[in-house]
């Protein structure tokens, strides 16, 4: 499915898409959070970009781990430890590998979801990034099982993640900063679910 060179390309696209959407993500965070999600994510991914040349010849596990560590160090908000743990766990799932197949990709995504659940102590339905992540991973698994190509199963994953984002508009936040605004969080889409969807779209973009 991909080698370490392509993973580096994917991470560059992630940084680019997060940068382009930084204001949008921050604006989403304004009514229900602390108005910093896009700025924080952008700061984190700019640091990741800066450090990529140092790891671009490393194995995929090491590249993902370094990405996670950079996010933990520089994001500054909850998305730092959450995405940081996701990338670090994902890296551990494919440690030492220079090439990965679709099954490895599922392992990466499962590890990422597990990492977010571990760090955030959250479940599906609490208006968090997990509401996009969990359905996306389920859709990807179905696609892989059905023998679909990466372009197809990634498109399925993005579709499910977008539906997850829509779903977050309908529910009350019970985790994270948005839980402070309670019922007023209804109608607003979750910024974390949105940024996850953008990251998954960044991966899909390289398979079109």
């Amino acid at each position: 499915m991909t080698d370490n060179k392509k993973v580096v390309e994917i991470i560059k696209v992630m940084a680019e898409i997060i940068h382009e959407n930084a204001q949008f993500l921050t604006d989403l965070d304004a009514p229900i959070g602390d108005n910093d999600h896009g700025i924080n994510m952008d700061r984190g991914f700019q640091k990741v970009l800066e450090d990529l040349p140092g790891v671009e010849n490393s194995d995929i596990g090491a590249i993902l781990k370094k990405t996670g560590m950079d996010l933990v160090s520089t994001v500054g908000g909850s998305s730092g430890p959450l995405y940081g743990t996701a990338f670090m766990k994902a890296g551990a799932a494919v440690a030492g590998k220079n090439e990965i197949d679709a099954d490895d990709f599922i392992d990466i995504m499962d590890a990422a979801v597990g990492g977010v659940q571990l760090r955030g102590k959250a479940e599906k339905g609490e208006k968090t990034m997990l509401d996009a992540m969990i359905p996306a991973v389920e859709a990807i698994k179905k696609g892989v099982d059905a023998g679909k190509t990466p372009a197809e199963f990634l498109a399925d994953g993005v579709e499910a993640a977008k539906e997850g984002v829509e779903y977050t508009k309908t529910i009350i936040a019970t985790k994270g900063r948005a839980s402070y605004v309670g019922e007023r969080s209804i109608g607003h889409q979750d910024p974390g679910a949105t940024s996850f969807t953008l990251l998954l779209e960044s991966i899909a973009a390289l398979y079109n």
């Binding site: 910093d36 933990v72 500054g76 908000g77 909850s78 730092g80 430890p81 743990t85 760090r119 900063r177």
Partner: protein, 126 residues
């Protein structure tokens, strides 16, 4: 004495809590880890790590956080400090810090300092 680290998204808030606690207990090793490197709002892995190390001794260190990423980032720092005696306390930040500082200054153990901060949550203000 048990070291105390105050972690907050806000540099001013963390420093303020330390300042206030110092009025009660001037001697205990207590330090703030608030905000990002550039002084902006957020929590910094490096600042928290450096703060813990700066007050670390064999007596250990307790960390008191405000909310959200303060807790998650601190948790990650502690996970990577394997073998060190460092614990987070789930307590109100101002009252917990004051209680922990007083307990630390009297030479109590890490467990006693931790319990004093937790007990501070149950005290009525008026």
């Amino acid at each position: 004495m048990v070291g105390i680290v105050i972690v907050s998204h806000s540099k001013k808030l963390a420093e303020g809590v330390v300042e206030l606690s110092r009025l009660i207990s001037g001697e205990c090793p207590m330090v703030a880890a608030g905000g990002l490197e550039d002084g902006g709002f957020g929590t910094s892995y490096e600042r928290i790590e450096a703060a813990i190390e700066s007050v670390y001794s064999d007596d250990g260190v307790v960390v008191i956080m405000d909310m959200g990423s303060s807790c998650m980032t601190t948790e990650m720092v502690i996970e990577n400090m394997e073998g060190k005696k460092v614990e987070m306390i789930d307590c109100p930040m101002v009252e917990g810090a004051a209680a922990a500082a007083a307990e630390s200054e009297s030479g109590s153990t890490l467990e006693e300092v931790k319990q004093a901060a937790i007990d501070a949550a149950g005290e009525s203000k008026f």
